[in-house]
Symmetry: C2
Subunit: 233 residues, 2 copies
């Protein structure tokens, strides 16, 4: 029996570049793993032993300075690839933001398999290039944008990447979604403090650009003005 057959990310993860036979071979190398919210899957600086795909849930990639301040380097959604293949050490930590399900491989086994399957490597290269572009976009944000700009950009990214949950239902072009991160996580991602994030959110709310039904949910009420904020100096 092949666990991949009913996998929800079968067509969107790197696996999509494999034939049924190849998939079977890869499947025999991997195993499923559940992660609880808050659980760390990979530790920064550890030997790189695992790589894998996210099947369900949201994780973060993060790194800490010597004095303990944390910076989140990226958010990882279902069908994204995790880990550092072809290298001895994990350069960053991976932590589950929600309960999550991942499909993991021993790095050495994955590396070997990948080298024998150029299509897989090509897919991985494409993903890595895209991720590099995305990361550089965040660099621009961290280097040059104001707190408002950062929060607005973040909300737009989430509106695009997080699975939208049904809005108010009427004809309005409202976009609603749940935040998989708490305020502290957002602050770590944007290079701000929790207080500043909070103030910016209430600021956007008071301007009527967004609504905050509850602490985990966001509704974008005026996407155009939000875009305007996202470009702020």
């Amino acid at each position: 029996m092949n666990a991949c057959a009913q996998c929800t990310v079968r067509e969107t993860a790197i696996c999509s570049s494999l034939s049924a036979d190849e998939l079977g071979a890869l499947n025999s190398l991997g195993r499923h793993q559940m992660l609880r919210r808050g659980q760390t899957m990979v530790w920064q600086g550890d030997e790189s032993l695992l790589v894998g795909n996210v099947i369900e849930g949201v994780l973060k990639l993060s790194s800490s300075t010597v004095d303990g301040r944390e910076q989140t380097l990226g958010i990882i959604f279902p069908s994204d690839f995790i880990g550092r293949p072809f290298g001895p050490t994990a350069t960053h930590s991976v932590v589950a933001l929600t309960d999550a399900q991942v499909c993991t491989f021993r790095r050495s086994a994955f590396d070997e398999f990948a080298q024998q399957h150029p299509h897989l490597e090509h897919n991985l290269l494409q993903r890595t290039l895209t991720e590099l572009d995305r990361t550089r976009q965040w660099m621009l944000l961290l280097g040059r944008k104001s707190a408002t700009g950062r929060v607005a950009s973040f909300l737009m990214e989430m509106a695009n990447r997080a699975a939208p949950c049904a809005g108010a239902g009427n004809g309005a072009e409202t976009i609603g979604f749940d935040l998989p991160l708490g305020r502290q996580d957002i602050a770590d991602l944007l290079g701000l403090t929790i207080e500043t994030v909070s103030r910016q959110l209430t600021g956007l709310r008071d301007q009527g650009i967004i609504a905050i039904p509850n602490r985990r949910a966001i509704e974008v009420r005026d996407m155009e003005r939000l875009e305007g904020c996202a470009e702020e100096a």
Copy 2:
């Protein structure tokens, strides 16, 4: 005749993953190009038409916000790869910081060639993964470090990556190098202003950690204390 035979980066650029025959084939697709200091090779947002290798000189990768503020996303040294293969648009600009010599390929031709040579793609994947790690390290810097920490980190990175030029010569463990960037470029890279960069440099000088023989050169006099500064909040 094969221009690659006497190429100075033959063994360190992506070309190192190719046999002599393959190299000949790739060579027939490429052409050499000279760039003057300040010249832009790729424009952010343009159709991605070119990729290539840096043979000589230093370039920067940069992106601008809508209101014109610029952020440098990376520095590109000889044997580094330039451009965005496998994608229709260039997401960032590439500008020469010094006079430079690059070896360019039409993207479509390169893409096709790469897909037929898994070794080359593997090498490119490795490079991209390394570059992604490096970029994320800069994210940590931009998000969480003070001005002093940023400048110190920058100097350390340059001390490692730029070709060292002979120090004072005596037994001191002084490390000297030339900056390929002006103050404005440094500011753009670190997400600071030119004034702040200047103040931090003179600060480090006044503490005796570095010396500034002239505006383009730096001598690190106390690497340990510089490391200390680099970790500053």
